[in-house]
Structure formats: structure tokens, C-alpha cells
């Protein structure tokens, strides 16, 4: 609606608010906004999910087809993750090639799936060296009100877990895409010496540092990414990890539903 740069007055207000344990929308510092996930949202995709995290709205599509594996990994399926921060989602998003933000987001989500073996690439081989399943994850931001990292990662996990491998490509029936793990990311923002979880847009604008931690169904750490130019203490990091674990459990239930 209006100016994208936050005024000094509002910066000071949010800092004071957070220092007193409150946030602009009435949440507690450790509270995540309301989360709704609609799976199978797009029929032209083999898997899809539309995520609303507060007013942040992201659509993730998973397209599955067959193709050749990469020459250096003949026994592995192919996975590519892209992110489009389309201009409709925010006055600060411009059309054109992916910005560093879009690229970082896509890579973080990609690692969160690949390195965690959420989808085991080895299980996606049809004929070794010749034919494998090829997955494209496309993240499409629709409305940006803070914390695209988490919204995109919930959407990706929900889309993958409800995706069907198109049986017709190999002369068989559709099969569900095998999902072996459930890493859930939680993002925290540091504002002066307080830490808030699931930052809303204004909080992101004034945050000194940001930390995303993904924990799995066993409580183990599966991914981390720190952003912005400020810093966290080691105690901060341990606190974010333990809170991410607790909050992640609640969110995992919503994704798996």
C-alpha cells in the first residue's frame, strides 16, 4: 500500500513493543501466525500446495516427469528448485531474472529437501544411467507479509508429500512420491536483544539478524541458514534451536494432515 522503507518512529515503536514482550498483531514473541495449507491446489501439477502463513501467501507446484539422469549421478533422480518472487506479491519485487533473495530462498528450500533425503534421490531411478524421475519444485510467491522462507518450505513439503508420480510415463499406475522425512523450518528474527519467531513484514524490515532452523520428526537439526548483517550469540542460537524444535512439532501436524 505505501512506503516500503519503515519510518524511524515505527522502528522505535516495534523495538519498544518487542522489548515489552508484544508484537504489532498481538502475538507473543514465540508465536507463529495462523497457518493454512491447501494440498492438490493445482491440477496441472503432480503435487501442489497453497500456504497462507498470516497474510503471506505462497503457492508451490511440483512437476514430475521422466528424463535422463545427470552424467555424474547415474543412479539418482533429478531435482531442481526454483523460486519466482513475482511483482504481484510486493511492490518491492521487480520483474526480471531471479534476485539474490529468490535464489537464496530456492537454494535453502532445495537443500532442505535434498540433503535431508526428504525425497531420496536414489529411489527415483527407473533404469540406472538411462531413465529417472525428474522433479521440478516451483515456488510462486503471491502475497508477501514476511517470512517467505518458512511459507515456501511448508508449501514444498506439503506439495511433495501429496504428489503423485505419473504412472503413465512408465506404463503403470500413479504412485505416491515417497517422502521419508519431515523437516520443518522455523525462522527467527533478532530485534535489538530480543528474538521473535515467524517475523511479520515490518519486523523483518527492522531485524538485525535472521536465523532459520529446520528440525525433523526426531528433533534433530537438518538445516540452518543465518541472514542479514547482524549477529547472534551462541546462547541465542541454542534458544532458537530448542524453540524451533517445539514450534516445528506443531507445524508438522498441520503439514501432515
Amino acid at each position: 500500500m505505501s512506503n516500503e522503507v519503515i519510518s524511524e518512529l515505527m522502528r522505535e515503536h516495534i523495538v519498544k513493543l518487542v522489548a515489552s514482550g508484544k508484537r504489532g498483531d498481538g502475538r507473543g514473541l514465540e508465536e507463529v501466525r495462523s497457518l493454512t495449507i491447501e494440498k492438490n491446489y493445482i491440477q496441472t501439477a503432480e503435487g501442489s500446495a497453497r500456504v497462507r502463513l498470516g497474510n503471506t501467501d505462497v503457492l508451490v507446484g511440483v512437476k514430475i516427469s521422466t528424463g535422463e539422469p545427470y552424467a555424474d549421478t547415474p543412479n539418482s533422480g533429478v531435482l531442481t528448485t526454483s523460486c519466482e518472487l513475482v511483482p504481484m506479491a510486493s511492490p518491492t519485487f521487480e520483474s526480471g531474472p531471479p534476485s539474490p533473495t529468490a535464489i537464496e530462498l530456492a537454494r535453502v528450500v532445495d537443500r532442505g529437501i535434498r540433503e535431508t533425503k526428504t525425497v531420496d534421490m536414489a529411489k527415483l531411478v527407473i533404469t540406472p544411467g538411462e531413465k529417472v524421475w525428474v522433479l521440478f519444485i516451483d515456488i510462486h510467491a503471491l502475497d508477501y507479509d514476511g517470512n517467505l522462507f518458512d511459507a515456501a518450505s511448508y508449501g514444498t513439503l506439503a506439495a511433495l508429500s501429496s504428489a503423485k508420480m505419473p504412472g503413465a510415463k512408465i506404463g503403470g499406475a500413479d504412485q505416491p512420491l515417497p517422502v521419508d522425512h519431515w523437516p520443518v523450518s522455523i525462522t527467527a528474527a533478532k530485534i535489538r536483544d530480543k528474538i521473535v519467531f515467524d517475523p511479520q513484514l515490518d519486523e523483518e524490515k527492522i531485524a538485525d539478524a535472521r536465523l532459520t532452523v529446520a528440525t525433523d520428526e526426531n528433533g534433530d537439526i537438518r538445516a540452518m541458514q543465518k541472514g542479514l548483517s547482524g549477529s547472534f550469540s551462541y546462547d541465542d542460537v541454542r534458544y532458537v534451536i530448542s524453540t524451533a524444535r517445539r514450534l516445528g512439532n506443531g507445524i508438522r501436524g498441520i503439514i501432515q494432515a
Binding site: M1, Y41, I42, Q43, T44, A45, S48, N55, D57, L59, G61, V62, K63, S65, S82, E84, V86, P87, M88, A89, S90, P91, S95, P97, P98, F136, D138, H140, L142, D143, Y144, D145, A168
Partner: protein, 257 residues
Amino acid sequence: MEDIEHIPKEIQLVDANGRRLDGRALDELRPIKIEAGVLKRADGSAYMEWGGNRVLAAVYGPREAHPRHLQNPSRALVQCRYNMAPFSVSDRKRPGPDRRSVEISKVTSEAFSAVVFTEYFPRTSVDVFIEVLQADAGTRCAGITAASVALADAGIPMRDLVVACASGKIAGQVALDLNKEEDNFGDADCPVAIVPRTGEIVLLQMDGHLTEDEFDRAMRLSMDAGKRLYEMQKDALRRRYAVSALDQEALGAGVTA
């Protein structure tokens, strides 16, 4: 362009009773749903389902035109960006504009420039974004019809809304609103955008083969359908701002703090 491997060559687009593959009569529209005001950041927005199409439209503006050298000193620019999400089609589309999207963006911008009171806002731009989330032929018409609602929702001064619909020829017969198979295997397709009150044509494209008489019949079908679309657009806008008894109840219920 589209995935046609599953459609047999000898396909009967219209049966002996004048029924199409999806059961419609030759002059029947696919089921349509429109909702206004669906996004928070954008100044105006609308969502539309038209048969198998799902389209989201958003408007920002009037806002300062960037880059500066594109500014018009006496009127607003109307800049439309039509984009298809990678997962919106059967064969995944690479993200970013292709030549087709650029062309559709251009003719759509021109269509809206004909109705927006651009002289009220010199040196600015009214930016219209159309995202096709799921495609089933007729996406540019769905995009224009939805974007009109988004423009009105954004409070942009206009002479009228704009409606768009395509008619064509399948199995030698003139038909309204072709779906994907009909567009692929039909003989002609002719999208048109109209200013409802005056009947002015602000977009017209055609490919295939039509006699003049067939063209007249196709246009009549589209213009009649345009009247129905117009009512749906207005209904979506009125619903968005309706003062309903339901609103009163919800209001009362929400305020027991």
C-alpha cells in the same frame, strides 16, 4: 506447445447431438467463479476460475513510473505483465517471460489503456499483473476479465470494466469458449475483449480459418457471453463491499474481548 501425447488423432470434438467433449452445447460457457479483493499487499486484486483455468490478477497504482524515461508527462502508463507459473501447464514451463507472454502482455496493456482515465495521473504507471496458476485455454481472456475486476478493486478510474471471451470453430462448427483440446484440434480461435456499455472492441486476435459469416457468428457468441461475464464481474465487486446481515453477526461475535 501443449502435451498432446494422450489425445488420439481421430477425435470427435462435437457429437451428433451437438454436445462437446466436456458435455457443453456449442454456445455454453465453462463454469466460472470470480472473487474480488483476495490479496493484501496489492492495491486491488481478483481471483478467477474459468473451466480449468485458475488466474490471479493484481494491480498496483497509480504509482511513480519506473524507469523514469518511460514516464509520459501527460498521462499514466498502463503496464500489464501476463505470466504463466511453471506448473500451470502439463509440460513444465521455464520460469520467466517467453515471447508469447510478452505479446499477451502488450495487447492486454493496450486493451486497458482504452478504458482507464490515464489523463488523471500524468507521469505515473498503473501496473497490472496476471499470474496464470493453472491453464486450460482461454487464459488471456480469463486474465483480462479478472484484471478488470482488480483494476476496479484498486479504485482506478475507468470508463467501464472490460470483458474478454474467445470463440472459435471446432469440427466445422462455430463454438463458444474453447477448452484446451478444442483449441489444439479445432479449426479457429478468436479471443476478443469488449467494453460492455459501448460494445467497443479493445482486443481482437484470431488464428485458424473462418469465413466472414463464421466470424460474425463467433463474435455474436462472444459478445453475448460478454454480457454474462459482465454481470459476474459486477457481482464479485458488490459482494466484496456488501453490507450484509452476516457481517453484522460476525462483527458482534468477534468483539467479546
